[in-house]
Homo-oligomer: 397 residues x 2
């Protein structure tokens, strides 16, 4: 069956990076499929898209739902997409209902950090949490910056402030998403109700050594940036392992080696680190241990090590009121659910600035995500959509 | 002053990869500068170039000199170039001499492995030591293969055998080259006479783990290919350090991470390893230790590790007769010299198949090479060229 997943699909999964032609084409295709919903489509100054269903009283703040259509490199077909398609499906379920408040589906741009080094860019911009200029700092070697890409696609980055929405603009924000973890898959519960979102602290570690001929430079004379870098990769792993009981995790996902030649001792290495948790003290402790290791390799490996902060977000608490409302709906429906936290970041964590916000998790197989093997059962997604639709109906009446 | 170095020069040094437009342009420019030598220029089926000065008896096998014009990424201005320009300079010194034998300067193609993953490709092809097909196995992600590049530049890879020269074709082969090590710079000797060339054993280590969401995958549930890869980078370093007294060295120069995204646990990592020495037993011992470490991470990190051999050359002995002839010339000139080995590989190591071969090393500052800071004193190069010219005259008379 045709789907959003077809845009960027290869034998290595789905790759549909933000603001690429594939990203725009996927959205255009999806909007074409739901024309019969007669939604009013608007776009803000940075590319976030809004699909509005009018209410009886359009002076009321709209109930918002939504998620994103962009993916990481070599992704699956569910992350983000379930939240957009699920929200549309909820509108189909509510088609014959008379709702007092308007409802709006938001398709956030660039939720994944795979292209620009920053996550949840669309919701950051919409909530005034960052400027396009700030989101251009993490540009990878040989890549275009976010500001350049905005211009290239007909958006004027100077007008970014026009995209900022004020607190109270929405009545609430509701996001449905696959868990991207193993908890629901293992416990057999069909719904996760999210109370806190772990936020990523992201930084680059830059190791400067000395590029030398790999054959003619004796071991004792080297300043190998990659050997020092390898020690730091293991230090990041160890720091997170020691904080694992607090739910803290850390990952080196990208390694840039210069000059990257088999016959040259690496002269410079950049590690991209992602550190997360729901416990601020634990995150700080892990960061401290990593920085301690950075100081150690300066001594042991005669290299220069520096750090460049990309983001240092705080864990975010969602609305307990909405969470207990969701729980009530699940109970009425006889659906097994669980109160839980989110290890992954989501657009919802910025939307708390605008309105009470809540999230529903759908189980995904073995917790696999950001991987072509990502999978969620259609029946689980349908249950989530039904819970979502009931919630919208309840609030919008 | 204009020079070969200008082709590919930026603020990050010289980058003139083999078979690029820059590579061809540098050679064309150089040939233009030496037109007054009236050399006959020919090219073989794979792009090696031959500059011939006729002798009195052209039925005699020519005396060959030469080196290469291609560079690594972010290189200096001396590696290879000194051997080509030095040989031309020697011909200027011998301009008024009547020489019985013809003399030929060879400009070898693709001595550096930076583009195709294999070194000394031109001399390998010329001596029948490899086929274009074999030299296309190491193609890096997103790069064109060697066979494709040959075709693109008007060479027919199917005709590669036409480039192969037979043993006895040359009288001898002489190469002058910067040392790319620190020995001569530290001892103050002006000439190194090379007896053995360490040969690289090169292989890829491929680590297959599991790509997962970096936020939602607890530490204990990961199969992080990069964490396992970091352990192997350190194991390669340790194996070489333990064999350092035998002159063995090992380097991981390239790391490919998939999918290479800050919010995804690395699913696959490829390490490109270069292992070298002049002692076969020591090289084998280091390789054994690396393979032992590969088996260990399979257990400890729950990843799959495989190895792919790229080259496994044996150390090569050059001509002792020519070496002692060089020593005699140095003594006659009052030049301080040293008998030594080469840690780096050179085209000379394949030319031993065709003719007695010898190499001269010129000191280079702090042993720095494959780096923009590479530097050799003009006076040292001139001494080397004079020794070379005297040798050619002696043999060609």
């Amino acid at each position: 069956m045709a789907g959003v997943k077809d845009f960027g699909l290869s034998d290595k999964g789905v790759t549909r990076l933000a603001y690429t032609d594939l990203d725009f084409a996927a959205q255009a295709w999806l909007l074409e499929q739901v024309k019969d919903l007669n939604l009013t489509v608007t776009e803000d100054a940075v590319g976030n898209t809004f699909l509005r269903r009018p209410g009886i009283d359009n002076s009321l703040p709209p109930i918002a739902m939504g998620s994103h259509l962009d993916t990481v490199i070599q992704a699956g077909a569910y992350d983000g997409i379930v939240g957009v398609v699920g929200a549309l499906e909820a509108l189909y379920m509510l088609r014959d209902e008379k709702l007092t408040a308007p409802v709006e589906i938001i398709i956030f741009k660039a939720e994944e950090s795979s292209r620009f080094g920053y996550a949840t860019m669309g919701s950051k911009l919409m909530t005034g949490s960052a400027t396009p200029e700030q989101l251009s700092q993490g540009t990878k070697k040989n890549d275009k910056s976010f500001v350049e890409v905005l211009r290239e696609n007909g958006y004027n980055p100077d007008n970014y402030a026009e995209a900022i929405k004020k607190p109270g603009y929405y009545k609430c924000f509701l996001e449905i998403h696959i868990e991207q973890g193993k908890v629901l898959d293992e416990t057999g519960e069909q719904i996760g109700i999210v109370h806190n979102i772990a936020a990523p602290t992201r930084f680059k570690i830059i190791v400067d050594g000395m590029a030398d001929h790999s054959g003619a430079t004796p071991m004792g004379f080297r300043k190998d940036a990659l050997v020092a870098g390898a020690k730091l990769i293991l230090a990041v792993q160890k720091a997170a392992e020691e904080e694992a009981s607090k739910g803290t995790v850390a990952t080196v996902g990208v390694v840039d080696v210069e000059p990257s030649s088999i016959n040259v001792v690496p002269g410079k290495v950049t590690l991209w680190v992602d550190l997360r948790g729901v416990d601020n003290a634990s995150i700080a402790k892990a960061l401290d241990k990593i920085q301690h290791a950075m100081a150690n390799v300066v001594d042991s490996d005669k290299v220069i090590v520096s750090q460049e902060m990309l983001t240092a977000d705080k864990p975010v608490a969602l609305s307990d009121d909405l969470a207990y409302e969701f729980a009530k709906i699940c109970e009425e429906m006889g659906v097994k659910y669980r109160h839980m936290n989110s290890g992954a970041g989501h657009d919802a964590m910025h939307m708390v600035k605008l309105a009470p916000t809540s999230m529903l998790f759908i189980p995904c197989k073995e917790g696999i995500s950001h991987n072509p093997a990502e999978y969620a059962k259609l029946e689980d997604i349908c249950v989530g959509v039904e819970v979502l639709a009931k919630m919208v109906k309840k609030i919008a009446q």
